[in-house]
């Protein structure tokens, strides 16, 4: 594992030293280090690039780290990771991604993740994306996450992209069985000429399935963001999506929500609000002694917390 990867790991996860459970560190398209535990096995795929993660049924409280780092230019890393979460298990999976470019060449990571969440299992999936380096090469992260959640299963996706990623095109698709729950919290900040597109598709197939999708984003400079969410209620179920965006400078945000109720008892809601920071919020914090710039930073920090 190179020094750059060690630095990126500090930004996208708790840091290598703190990995207590199973882990797999991917560096520039290949595995740098890997460890399985009694409860969680990580194996390299035989047919193509990527790993299979098997969590035994009933496992409680293990934190699995699977960070991926691209630390030099002219690398495009495509990886397929499959997660099998056993019945009744309760685990946290941290899948940060750091992309560093100092040169003129592009650095790109495309992670394609499939989750198979067993009955009554619970998984928290955290992914933190960051781009670093001063090179003119483009830093790109295109994650795709597919989740099949069995009866009574719960999945929480906590996704954060705070800075340095020039282009991202994110696709998240989920299918929920009876009583399954999905909570998604997405936070994105773009600046300069960056672009970010996110596309969520959730199919509520089983009775009393529920999804809560919250996206908060900030677009600075002349960056552009597109948020698209599609929630389809095919039976008695509930769905809620919320897109809140702050625009600054010449930033542009588009929100395209779509709700489809294919059943009389499907209760679906969407909320969206896009606008600049409210003047009264700045004034309030300035009356507490903050400068306008400090107030603005604090409001954004809180908004994306």
């Amino acid at each position: 594992m190179n020094e750059r990867t060690r630095k990126l790991l500090k930004l996208i996860s708790d840091g290598y030293e703190n990995f207590t459970g199973a882990y797999s560190i991917r560096q520039n398209g290949s595995c740098a280090e890997m460890r399985s535990t009694e409860q969680v096995s990580i194996t390299t795929k035989a047919d193509h690039s990527g790993i299979d993660i098997h969590v035994r049924p009933g496992v409680q409280g293990e934190i699995v780290n699977i960070p991926a780092c691209v630390t030099s230019s002219d690398i495009t890393d495509l990886v397929y990771n499959d997660f099998y979460i056993g019945e009744g298990a309760d685990v946290v999976i941290v899948a940060g991604c750091g992309v560093h470019s100092d040169g003129e060449g592009d650095a790109q990571h495309d992670g394609i993740h499939h989750f198979y969440v067993g009955k009554n299992a619970r998984v928290v999936y955290r992914e933190k994306h960051i781009g670093t380096g001063d090179g003119s090469g483009k830093r790109t992260i295109n994650p795709q996450t597919f989740a099949e959640i069995s009866e009574g299963g719960v999945m929480e996706i906590d996704s954060t992209q705070i800075k340095g990623v020039d282009s991202t095109n994110r696709v998240t698709k989920a299918w929920l069985a009876a009583g399954a729950k999905l909570r998604i919290k997405e936070k994105i900040m773009t600046h300069g000429k960056q672009t970010a597109e996110t596309d969520f598709i959730v199919e509520l197939d089983g009775e009393d399935a529920a999804v809560d999708l919250v996206s908060r984003s900030v677009a600075k400079g002349s960056s552009r963001q597109l948020f698209r969410s599609r929630i389809v209620g095919n039976t008695r179920c509930t769905g809620h999506s919320e897109c809140d965006a702050i625009i600054m400078d010449q930033g542009v945000v588009s929100a395209i929500p779509e709700l489809t109720a294919n059943h009389l008892d499907a209760g679906l809601i969407h909320e969206a609000a896009i606008g600049k920071i409210a003047g009264e919020q700045l004034i309030k914090l300035m009356t507490l002694g903050l400068t306008e710039a400090e107030a603005e930073a604090k409001i954004i920090e809180g908004f994306l917390k």
Partner: protein, 253 residues
């Protein structure tokens, strides 16, 4: 000590909203500013905090001319301002706001004290976001707790009772009674409420942008209460007497 000298705000093409106000507000005194709606009370508060800028006149704080200073500079010099309509923030928590007000990370005990003073339980509120999930009454209490955490040398509260339910109102009076005992700096409360005026040292009546009366509570309050019992409204050119049910806490202006 805060001194307002010939302080005036005139909106272009309109009359003066605040019209040549001369007023001295002493440290250690609780001053209540009251008067009819549209009389210029909130505008005066905003002029003091620097949210609005006067068209003429001066504001002196402890002898220093602060008329040209920004909101931030005035806040750092010790001017505190509690909004009539507290601002909501998505993402910022009650803890965040109290710590920003205190100017440093606060201990759990301190945070508990700030919230306790306004009748809120720290356990239930510190991690709450200051968003639409909080009621108007809760927002007002948090706004007052923020002012307490600020410990500013001079604090102005703009209608702390506005939007507060009856139960909270009773607690609010206790909060301001305690302020009166313990607050070393200057304290100004804009209010329509008899029970708040009743604990003030001095009362200033602002009407049409001018000070129409000023004096101690003992001098002014009986006259103001007299007006309340014979409140008149003018409809179609005729005077109609309106009787309010008795009891404390009624609005009389």
């Amino acid at each position: 000590m805060l001194e307002l000298k010939e302080l005036t705000l005139q909106i272009e093409g309109s009359r003066e909203i605040v019209d040549h106000i001369n007023l001295t507000l002493q440290d250690g005194k609780f001053t209540a500013i009251t008067g009819p709606n549209g009389g210029g009370k909130s505008t005066l508060a905003k002029l003091i905090a620097g949210v609005d800028r006067p068209t003429s006149g001066q504001i002196l704080f402890n002898g220093e001319d602060i008329t040209g200073l920004s909101i931030t500079e005035r806040a750092r010099k010790g001017i505190g301002f509690a909004f009539q309509q507290p601002v909501r923030f998505k993402g910022l928590t009650v803890r965040d706001l109290l710590e920003l007000a205190a100017g440093e990370p606060a201990s759990e005990t301190q945070l508990m004290e700030y919230l306790c003073a306004v009748g809120l339980c720290a356990k239930d509120y510190l991690s709450r976001e200051i968003n639409a999930s909080l009621s108007g009454g809760e927002m007002k209490r948090i706004e007052i707790a923020t002012a307490i955490a600020r410990k500013a040398a001079f604090t102005i509260f703009d209608e702390p009772e506005a939007g507060i339910d009856l139960w909270s109102f009773s607690s609010l009076i206790d909060v301001f009674s305690n302020f009166r005992q313990e607050w070393a700096g200057g304290l100004v409360v804009i209010s329509h409420q008899e029970r708040i005026l009743n604990i003030a040292d001095e009362i200033v009546v602002l009407s049409g942008g001018r000070i129409s009366a000023q004096g101690s509570r003992e001098e002014l309050l009986p006259g103001l209460l007299g007006q309340s019992e014979d409140c008149r409204t003018c409809m179609n050119g005729e005077a109609h007497r309106v009787s309010y049910p008795g009891g404390k806490g009624r609005s009389f202006i």
